[in-house]
């Protein structure tokens, strides 16, 4: 932690004294009462009240100490031994340096490290696996396309081949072995392994993902140049009508990639490159669609079991990244009336019900179109599109779940992009926080 200049210490202290001394008659400023301090610590104050209390706390050491002492023990229901260890931890940290650098390998830190590792692993599996599966099927698809598709140019036939190693796979090769031979060694190994072991069983799982991809691509057809759309499917379907599951895959991959402005493709390497790029291409294409993106994602997450988290994150990322999204940010005003979340688009002149849950809602927090609301019995909803669609969120950690009344939510976005950081407080002093927009939760 960087050190502040010494003068800052002096002036912070002096701020307290200035308030105490010049008054003369009232050396002690009026302290907030226990009620206010408690409500502050439980994040139950309005913004104005909270600022008043903070203003006092910044100057008043006694009140700061009272609040710290009054913090609930971290493990409320724990045995006395836990209380002792907590006391020992606090004492040792106070006796030493102020920053808890010595605790860097303590359990709370390792816990986050483990969580981060898990997220990385899951993300890697989700991103890499479809690519592997595509490779596994390539040998069966490629030669057929290759043999039946003589040098005739594909959809974007005029463009020259890319100088990438994958583009080196010749279109006219009749046999899978020769196509493999043109690839790098690592690809060869991978492809052989998959051919041997994983190709057959993974095909079923892959077909489900194909369905999802078809939906995306179908939606994109409407907003695309007609000639590109028509060219690609006609080539594929004419050739490969006896290999039904694979045909739409190749076609749709071409289309999705074409829809993405970031990816340049050419027909000669379509069979290899397009299929391999299918997943990243979908990811890259996400910012392109306009308002329907989130609904598409909802459909997909219902169909594809492996993808719900990724889909949700991507939906919100797409929302953030979409150039059109910035242009259409509207000024929402939110309010909770009688347990129902209401939304006003015209500066509080008229209100419409945005969300009515089965339990009364008690609080909300909004950051642009990122809206959270919570209520009794652990009710927690999240919307990334200003309240048009809602997702029920059930924070849980290990075997614990959020079940008590939610009394306060705060949402912030560090640096203005990326997933939001959410903190949820409850009546029984639980504080649940999520640093990744509600995907994973930590309970304090």
């Amino acid at each position: 932690m960087t050190e502040v200049p010494k003068i800052v210490y002096d002036r912070l202290r002096a701020a307290r004294l200035r308030r105490a001394l010049p008054g003369g008659t009232a050396p002690e400023p009026a302290h907030p009462d226990a009620d206010l301090l408690t409500a502050f610590a439980e994040q139950a104050l309005s913004a104005a009240e909270r600022d008043d209390v903070l203003e006092h706390l910044a100057r008043c050491e006694d009140c700061r100490e009272a609040i710290t002492l009054a913090l609930p023990a971290e493990d409320v229901g724990a045995a006395p031994t836990a209380t002792d260890s907590e006391a020992a931890r606090v004492t040792s940290s106070r006796a030493g340096v102020p920053a808890p650098h010595g605790l860097i390998f303590a359990w709370p830190h390792l816990r986050w490290a483990a969580l981060a590792t898990a997220v990385v692993v899951v993300a890697a599996v989700l991103l890499v696996r479809p690519g592997k599966l595509n490779q596994a099927k390539l040998p069966s698809v490629n030669p057929q396309i290759a043999t039946n598709l003589p040098p005739t140019p594909g959809p974007q036939g005029a463009s020259p081949p890319l100088p990438s190693p994958m583009a080196a796979a010749p279109t006219g090769q009749p046999a899978a072995d020769r196509a493999d031979g043109a690839r790098s060694k690592s690809e060869l190994r991978l492809s052989k392994k998959l051919k041997a072991g994983q190709a057959a069983p993974s095909f079923q799982a892959e077909s489900r993902m194909l369905l999802a991809e078809n939906e995306i691509a179908d939606n994109k057809n409407e907003s695309k140049d007609a000639d590109k759309v028509s060219a690609a499917p006609s080539a594929g379907t004419r050739v490969l009508d006896y290999n039904a599951p694979a045909i739409p895959r190749v076609n749709e991959t071409v289309e999705v990639t074409a829809a993405s402005p970031a990816v340049e493709t050419e027909a000669s390497s379509v069979n290899v490159q397009m299929a391999r790029n299918s997943t990243p291409a979908i990811a890259k294409a996400k910012p392109a669609p306009q308002t329907e993106t989130s609904q598409q994602q909802n459909v997909i997450s219902a169909n594809v079991v492996e993808l719900p988290l990724q889909a949700r994150n991507m939906a919100s990322m797409a929302k953030l990244a979409a150039p059109s999204g910035a242009a259409r940010t509207r000024a929402f005003t939110w309010s909770i009336t009688a347990g129902v979340l209401q939304r006003s688009l015209d500066g509080s002149k008229s209100w419409q019900d945005a969300l009515r849950a089965d339990h009364p809602l008690l609080c909300y927090a909004a950051h642009d179109e990122d809206v959270w609301t919570g209520g009794q019995a652990g009710t927690l909803f999240h919307s990334v599109d200003g309240g048009i669609t809602w997702v029920r969120v059930q924070p849980s950690m290990k075997d614990q779940q959020l079940t008590s009344d939610v009394t306060h939510i705060s949402v912030s976005r560090i640096d203005g992009h990326g997933p939001s950081e959410v903190v949820v407080s409850t009546t029984n002093n639980e504080v649940w926080s999520s640093a990744d927009g509600g995907t994973t939760w930590d309970r304090k």
């Binding site: 960087t2 050190e3 502040v4 200049p5 010494k6 003068i7 800052v8 002096d10 002036r11 912070l12 202290r13 701020a15 004294l17 009462d33 226990a34 009620d35 408690t38 409500a39 502050f40 610590a41 439980e42 139950a44 600022d51 903070l54 706390l57 910044a58 050491e61 700061r64 100490e65 710290t68 002492l69 009054a70 913090l71 609930p72 023990a73 907590e86 006391a87 004492t91 106070r94 006796a95 030493g96 340096v97 102020p98 808890p100 709370p108 309010s335 909770i336 009336t337 009688a338 347990g339 009364p360 008690l362 306060h408 912030s412 950081e421 903190v423 029984n428 002093n429 504080v431 640093a435």
Partner: protein, 329 residues
């Protein structure tokens, strides 16, 4: 039932903003508070609807006095305020204060053990914990009768936060008050012997450095939000851990860490800019800022050491101090 909450709360608020304590008058306010009344379970403890309405009325008055702006708030916002109160705990506390036996039994069964655990958490010492918890219990029960009426501390609970949190805060304040009383009974010689803890805070600003540096720093600090100043004071003056500050502010530990980094860098930049506008050169300003930061580190360490040794401090020092002073005099 829910639309009624809105209606009821707005009527209560109308009654209040008109400064017509209708809700207090029997027969008039009874239907007003009936829904919130049911939700609070006040009937269990023999609190009538009128009494309940009166309690809410007083709390709204207090809230409005403290926040003049809220007098113009909409009825919905006031309804929201009412709905957010911890009504059930509020009723329990007020019933205890009024001497309802059942309420008191419930209170004891719910909070007795918790109070002792809290006391142990605050004092970190078994004997002191028992003493603190017992004295708070006496205050809560209202042992000090005035004119034959018990005055229980529970009257001051207004339901803004949880009752358990309120008890913890009251106990922490009591603990600090006692500690301060103990500090006052310590002789001046002990203070000097013990070092900086009491005198330091007063003496420190006296040896002022450059006026321009002070002014620039004050200006930079004044530009910060109250939350930022609170974070700075907690971390650098009180030596709180990041985890403690994060829990107080309802943030994540890493957010506090990032904020402190941002604050310290920003402060340095702003102070330097302030010094330059006050006529210092860049080099002078940088030099003025760098005056021996280690001093303050030492000071902080001694403050922290004193903080953790406060339990044993009054008894341990007295004999040695007396003999030492006696011989020199």
């Amino acid at each position: 039932m829910l639309p009624c909450v809105k209606k009821v709360a707005s009527i209560i608020w109308d009654a209040f903003t008109g400064y017509m304590p209708r809700s207090v008058q029997p027969g008039c306010g009874a239907d007003v508070a009936i829904v919130l009344y049911e939700r609070s379970g006040a009937a269990l403890y023999g609190v009538s609807a009128d009494q309940f309405a009166a309690i809410l009325h007083v709390i709204l008055c207090k809230y409005c006095e403290a926040n003049p702006n809220s007098a113009h708030a909409s009825a919905e916002q006031q309804a929201d305020f009412c709905a957010r109160l911890h009504l059930e705990e509020l009723v329990l506390a007020r019933a205890c204060a009024a001497g309802n036996e059942r309420a008191w039994q419930d209170f004891i069964s719910r909070y007795r053990h918790k109070l002792h655990r809290m006391a142990l958490h605050i004092t970190r010492d078994g004997a002191h914990a028992a003493e603190l918890a017992d004295s708070l219990f006496a205050d809560l029960y209202g042992v000090n009768a005035r004119d034959g009426v018990r005055s229980s501390k529970l009257v001051f609970y207004t339901g803004r936060g949880s009752l358990e949190g309120w008890l913890r805060t009251v106990m922490a304040q009591e603990f600090i008050n006692r500690y301060r009383k103990q500090k006052h009974t310590v002789s001046l010689e002990e203070q000097t012997e013990d070092g900086v803890q009491f005198a330091a805070a007063v003496l420190e600003p006296a040896r002022a450095s450059d006026q321009r540096l002070e002014a620039a720093t004050d200006e930079a600090l004044a530009e910060l939000s109250p939350e930022d100043r609170f974070t700075l004071a907690s971390y650098y003056l009180d030596g709180r851990t990041l985890a403690e500050i994060a829990r107080m502010l309802g943030l994540h530990e890493s957010s506090v860490s990032r904020r402190l980094d941002r604050l310290s860098a920003g402060l340095r930049k702003r102070i330097l800019a302030g010094l330059r506008t006050r006529g210092m050169s860049h080099a002078q300003a940088a030099e003025a800022l760098e005056i021996d930061v280690r001093d303050i580190q030492l000071n902080l360490r001694s403050r922290l050491a004193q903080d953790s040794s406060r339990k044993t401090f009054p008894e341990g020092k007295v004999p040695a101090q007396d003999t030492g002073e006696g011989s020199t005099n």
